[in-house]
């Protein structure tokens, strides 16, 4: 892959808005408090506020539902239940098994049962607590293994097999079997779920919603209200964080707000209080594993049989594709020749688990990292050596470069990347220094781990890999861009604006991205799967390129020369050694009746997937990375601290290195939270007891390591992605595996690394102390 493959047009050599570390397009608005989120928009006259009444039971038949006290409460205007939907009360992104409001039964504690509308947010919330509902309790399944044992699933089990795992396991010189688990995770976007529905003329509905998926909200609302999609317009300028939690699960809020507004013909806002948000919405799936692995004395895996139970919660939601991604990432960066992988989505009486950054990928990959760690401990090897020994072969190493689902890995850089990080982080020297420290430190013990990742980019579902964009050039030379992606903080609008500015040879300040709007780009995919910039950047580039070509043709007509030799640079157009400003050329184009706007479209090529056999070519390319973490653990209390983290990440040719670094660091800390302090606790009645930041602890300022070294790996995407960049949204969430395994390493030092610490995730201080105790008492 040489540099020249990247440079596909003349303009790119000279004008480089793409690739610059521009600040986020809303940065100045953010710091001034003038970036508007849905709840900040000036309210229309007569706006009402809704709140939800929630189920008190995990699984029950609703007996009587007396809402009289709710109706009589101060300020209340109306109360709605499932029976009030003129259309369909069901939502669900794939299988429509998810009632917006509960009907005869409730399926989890916290499930919305009714909506109350009042003059103020507070009045609605107060009234929602006054319902008198009787329940006839049913047996509730609260745990994934319990549900699995009962055969309670939301979808048919999945199975992928390659080679002859049975025979290979039998023949393997060494075997490891066991069970393990990782916990779930609350998205904890700072801006809670919210939808503001405004009736439009002729039964129409305009909804401003904090959502990663405006098109799906449009469809849900249209179905719920029995309207055609053209009657519903959904808009989102920005979200205060999404992380997957606003992909499918913004539907309930959008649907209820629209229902209320539809009946009352008044604007209705539904804003979730934090506790309600956490009680109602689904989270990252907790996973429960059974593994049986055969390997040789060198630590190379020869065969694996893996069972995964994902806790789906009460409905299917996105659990199917989450489990599929987990199956496709169980290899992480390693070649697994003979495998048998089964995955089930257990139906439990808890929140319906959903998308969360990584989307099953982290849950798949962390299992094989756990296995690597176990093998290393069994063989007395450094876990890094076991890992390296199992890496996918380089592209010319036949056989060892085909994934278990059949895709050939053609862009493997994991060997070089890990070698560079191993060296730049002084991994070996620090391993020695830590051993010396631990030998003389009676209470505090240090641990170190390096973990790699390989993450597949594209929606596993082929047809979702499409995007559209609109680019408008105005007579003053300013440019408006609209595309199907949503801005949740990841810098997508900044990157797309850079792509357009780059294409037209104008400064970034001349380009503005407007709110995502189903009235502008139709049938969009969710902004998810890390594909936002890949898809929408390409679509916007396509639109801008068409305009540029028309302008180049005009310039060639006016000034002579060939259209493909016209250069667009820094707001100036150079043609046949003559120059004019971009604005002048635009004005001339207008007078010449040249179309100054264009649509653009992109569909990722060469993707296919067979869901039955779980084989195909689901990914456009892979994003690689690795991290080294060093921790210190208190063996008396289980408290720990991250002392240093070194990260090397492959963003290809980054569209914006500053934004990419922000994504990497943010994902690292977020993933560290998942694996350590973020513990979801349900009581034995199935009620989530960690439903607010007072009890659910995401990382805070002191958790950011004082020594944090993040670098982008010098690379260029082999695949023709937008400017040969690579996705950066989800893959770095796998980097903090290194933190978890460093903690495990520190615990193992208590027994001079002779015992394998029984540590599950999240590694809270309590579970760390328990593992320390287990290792000590096993001595």
């Amino acid at each position: 892959m040489s540099q020249t493959t990247k440079l596909s047009s003349a303009t790119e050599q000279e004008w480089a808005e793409a690739g610059r570390p521009h600040p986020h397009e809303s940065a100045v608005l953010h710091v001034c408090g003038s970036a508007n989120y849905t709840d900040d928009l000036p309210e229309l006259q007569g706006t009402l506020h809704a709140a939800l009444g929630l189920s008190a039971q995990a699984h029950a038949v609703i007996g009587t539902m007396n809402l009289e006290r709710v109706r009589q409460a101060p300020g209340v205007v109306a109360v709605f239940t499932a029976a009030d939907f003129p259309g369909d009360n069901q939502c669900g992104p794939i299988i429509r098994d998810d009632p917006i409001l509960a009907t005869e039964k409730v399926h989890y504690a916290g499930q919305p049962v009714f909506a109350v509308v009042a003059h103020s947010h507070e009045q609605a919330r107060r009234a929602a607590r006054l319902a008198d509902i009787t329940y006839h309790p049913l047996p509730a399944l609260l745990h994934a293994r319990e549900a699995d044992a009962a055969g309670s699933y939301v979808l048919p089990p999945m199975h992928l097999q390659r080679g002859d795992p049975e025979a290979a396991l039998e023949q393997a010189p060494l075997r490891l079997r066991g069970q393990w688990q990782v916990g779930g995770q609350e998205q904890f976007y700072l801006e809670g779920q919210i939808a503001y529905a405004m009736p439009a003329e002729g039964e129409g509905m305009h909804v401003v919603c904090s959502t990663q998926h405006p098109s799906e909200m449009q469809h849900v609302i249209a179905h719920a209200l029995g309207l055609a999609s053209h009657a519903v317009r959904v808009e989102c300028r920005r979200m205060g964080g999404g992380f997957g939690g606003k992909e499918s699960q913004s539907a309930l809020w959008a649907g209820v707000a629209a229902l209320c507004a539809h009946h009352l013909r008044r604007p209705v806002k539904l804003r979730a209080d934090r506790d309600d948000d956490m009680l109602v919405t689904g989270k990252r799936h907790d996973f429960h594993y059974d593994y049986d692995v055969g390997f040789n004395a060198g630590g190379r895996i020869l065969a694996a049989r893996i069972g995964m139970i994902a806790r789906a919660g009460f409905s299917a939601d996105l659990s199917g594709p989450v489990a599929t991604r987990a199956v496709c990432h169980v290899d992480n960066a390693y070649y697994l020749s003979d495998v048998d992988i089964r995955a089930v989505c257990a139906r439990t009486n808890t929140q319906s688990n959903t998308a969360f950054r990584g989307f099953g990928g982290p849950q798949g990959a962390i299992l094989i990292e756990y296995v690597m760690d176990e093998i290393a401990r069994q063989l007395g090897m450094d876990p890094l050596d076991v890992r390296k020994h199992n890496f996918y072969g380089r592209h010319d190493e036949e056989g060892r470069n085909i994934t278990h689902y059949g895709q050939k890995v053609t862009d493997n850089v994991i060997h070089e990347l890990v070698a560079e990080l191993e060296s730049s982080s002084d991994y070996r020297q620090r391993r020695t220094a830590i051993a010396a420290f631990n030998a003389t430190s009676p209470v505090l013990k240090k641990g170190l781990a390096l973990t790699p990742h390989k993450f597949g980019i594209a929606f596993n579902v082929t047809h979702l890999n499409q995007a559209g964009a609109l680019v408008h050039v105005y007579l003053d030379g300013s440019v408006s861009v609209n595309h199907g992606g949503t801005e949740m903080g990841q810098g997508l609008h900044t990157k797309v604006a850079q792509v357009v500015a780059h294409e037209l040879g104008i400064p970034l300040s001349a380009v503005r991205v407007s709110a995502t709007d189903t009235g502008k780009i139709a049938n969009t995919s969710a902004t998810a799967a890390s594909t936002g910039a890949d898809l929408n950047g390409k679509a916007a580039q396509d639109a801008a390129r068409q305009i540029r070509q028309r302008l180049a043709q005009l310039a060639a007509n006016r000034f002579g020369g060939m259209p493909d030799q016209v250069r667009f640079h820094a707001g100036t157009v150079v043609c046949n050694e003559q120059r004019c400003s971009f604005q002048e050329l635009v004005q001339q184009a207008y007078l010449a009746r040249v179309q100054l706007w264009s649509d653009g479209f992109y569909a990722t090529p060469d993707l296919h997937w067979d869901g039955k056999t779980m084989t195909g070519h689901p990914f456009s390319y892979y994003a690689y990375g690795a991290a080294v973490s060093e921790v210190i653990v208190d063996t008396l209390t289980g408290e720990w601290k991250l002392l240093r983290a070194d990260i090397l990440y492959d963003a290809g040719q980054s569209l914006n290195p500053a934004i990419d670094q922000g994504q990497i660091e943010g994902a690292f800390i977020q993933g560290m939270g998942w694996l350590t302090t973020e513990e979801l606790v349900w009581n034995n009645q199935g009620k989530l007891t960690t439903h607010a930041p007072s009890t659910y602890k995401i990382p805070a300022i002191s958790d950011c390591p004082a020594d944090f070294r993040v670098k982008l790996f010098a690379n260029c995407n082999v695949t023709d992605s937008i400017h040969r960049s690579k996705a950066v949204g989800e893959p770095p969430l796998l980097l903090p595996f290194s933190v978890f395994f460093a903690i495990r390493d520190a615990i193992a030092s208590v027994s001079a690394h002779r015992r394998s610490p029984p540590l599950t995730a999240p590694a809270t201080a309590e579970s760390i102390l328990r593992a320390i105790h287990a290792v000590q008492t096993a001595e």
């Binding site: 986020h24 505090l444 209390t637 922000g662």
Partner: protein, 494 residues
């Protein structure tokens, strides 16, 4: 006759006459004034998206501090000034705090950003020409109450350093000083809405008179707990008596034996004063007690009077032998703090009495004293276990042993059996092991979402061992060798 609530905001004095007594500042800003720069993330003081800065007169001086707008009752802001994120920009030019945030790429989704900006502004205002260069510790303290889910904090930390390098922007306190003087009340402020009264007495005498007249009224100090009763529980609070303006309750006095901390002294002021006497012993607890905005609002008196079994001040206050001072119609009485707690949420407090001060003994010679807090997260978290150990160590033996725990029983409670094992005992490993056994007989902790009973007990025993390792006569270990939070972090590479 109701006084209007008057406060200074955006260069002018505002008067409020028709809002509920329990309207929060955040509701007021967002819903009444449509100043939507200040965000609601959790409405319970745990995320910091609603951080604002208030200013008030204290002994004639303007004091500014960051607080959580979601927990502040508007009525308690009478006579104060409010600054929000919208106040920082001057014309088109960003404040250095804002400029640094932009330059360092410190916002992603931007929703938490106004809160971070205000916490950094609070830090910025405290910096003077004599201030030592900012340390990571200072930044952690300033931002301990702000959650960000996007950035991982590194660029925000960089912005804190960067703001100091940009040309300084002076804050002109004159207009606010003038306004605050204008807003001062000579005697009790009384605001009434729909028959609910809010009183802000200025003197102890006036407070006690109101207490007698309204024995069922709710006493409000920092509101860090009562704010939740309003926003989360929708409790009907009845009349409110606010302690924050009672001059006698705002004083901090030391004599030869005691540090006396008025019940309305904020946690931040109280712990600063305490750390003058117990820097090593209370330093870490001060940092992780709660976030800075909570410490700016909450009071030590409130922490004690509330008497939560998981409050972090009581274990060490009890271990040191502190007293609570109560005032009522029959005058003043002093009570050993452990005697104040009768049972879960029950206190030895007569209807006409109020907690007016906490008296903390000053260090004595040969004293060994430590307090340790265990949580899932270092910043802003509620204890699973909070331990305090105090004794005098003479000739290798322990005397006057006082041990108290939070999180282990229905009240903050002494470990009588453990103390009995250790009193007069040689301070050696045998004694520690015996004492650790005795702890299991002292407490039967509960399991909840913070920790299991087993962890609480085992960690409590291990904290006793930590205390021994840190204070034993032979070869004591330093905190650096015992606590991960005390380990020094490496320098960041250039």
């Amino acid at each position: 006759m109701s006084d209007p609530i008057r406060y200074f905001f955006k260069h002018q004095i505002h008067e409020i006459r028709d809002l509920p007594v329990t309207r929060t500042l955040l509701q007021h800003l967002r819903e009444d004034l449509h100043c939507t720069g200040t965000k609601e993330g959790c409405a319970e003081g745990d995320c910091g998206a609603c951080t604002v800065v208030t200013a008030e007169l204290h002994q004639g001086q303007v004091r500014m501090k960051s607080v959580n707008a979601c927990l502040q009752l508007l009525s308690s802001l009478d006579g104060k000034a409010i600054f929000t994120v919208e106040d920082l920009q001057q014309g088109q030019s960003l404040h250095p705090v804002q400029q640094a945030m932009v330059e360092c790429h410190a916002s992603q989704c931007g929703f938490c950003t106004p809160g971070f900006v205000m916490s950094l502004w609070d830090l910025y205002l405290r910096r003077t020409e004599d201030s030592a260069p900012l340390q990571r510790q200072d930044i952690n303290q300033a931002l301990s109450g702000n959650l960000c889910r996007c950035t991982g904090y590194r660029p925000i930390i960089d912005a804190a350093y960067r703001m100091e390098e940009l040309p300084h922007q002076h804050f002109d306190a004159q207009p606010v000083t003038t306004a605050l003087h204008q807003l001062e009340h000579g005697d009790t402020f009384c605001y009434t809405h729909q028959d609910q009264h809010f009183f802000a007495p200025r003197s102890l005498e006036a407070l006690l008179a109101l207490r007698q007249q309204y024995p069922d009224a709710c006493l409000l100090a920092g509101g860090t707990d009562i704010g939740l009763w309003v926003t989360k529980q929708f409790r009907q609070l009845g009349h409110l008596i606010y302690l924050g303006q009672v001059a006698e309750l705002r004083s901090l006095k030391a004599d030869t034996h005691w540090l006396s901390i008025g019940a309305a002294v904020t946690l931040d002021d109280a712990y600063r004063a305490l750390c003058n006497y117990y820097p090593a012993e209370l330093g870490e607890l001060q940092q992780r007690f709660a976030s800075l905005p909570i410490r700016h609002a909450g009071t030590l008196g409130g922490n004690v009077a509330n008497g939560s079994p998981i409050g972090d001040s009581m274990p060490w206050l009890i271990a040191l032998g502190s007293q609570v001072i109560l005032h009522g119609q029959q005058g003043e009485r002093a009570l050993a703090l452990e005697d104040f707690y009768l049972g879960y949420q029950q206190k030895d407090l007569r209807p006409d009495e109020v907690v007016t001060a906490i008296r903390v003994p000053l260090p004595v010679s040969k004293q060994i004293f430590r307090t340790y807090k265990l949580t899932k997260r270092f910043d802003q978290d509620i204890s699973a276990v909070c331990a305090a150990f105090c004794a005098t160590l003479e000739d290798g033996r322990l005397h006057q042993v006082r041990i108290a725990f939070g999180g282990m029983a229905a009240t903050p409670k002494r470990a009588a059996k453990t103390e009995a094992v250790l009193n007069q005992a040689l301070w050696n490993e045998d004694s520690v092991l015996q004492a650790m056994q005795a702890l299991a007989a002292d407490y039967t902790p509960l399991s909840d979402m913070r920790a299991s009973a087993e962890y609480r007990l085992q960690a409590a025993q291990n904290l006793l061992r930590r205390f021994w390792l840190e204070t034993r006569p032979e070869n004591p270990l330093s905190a650096h060798a015992l606590q991960v939070s005390a380990t020094e972090s490496r320098e960041q590479p250039v």
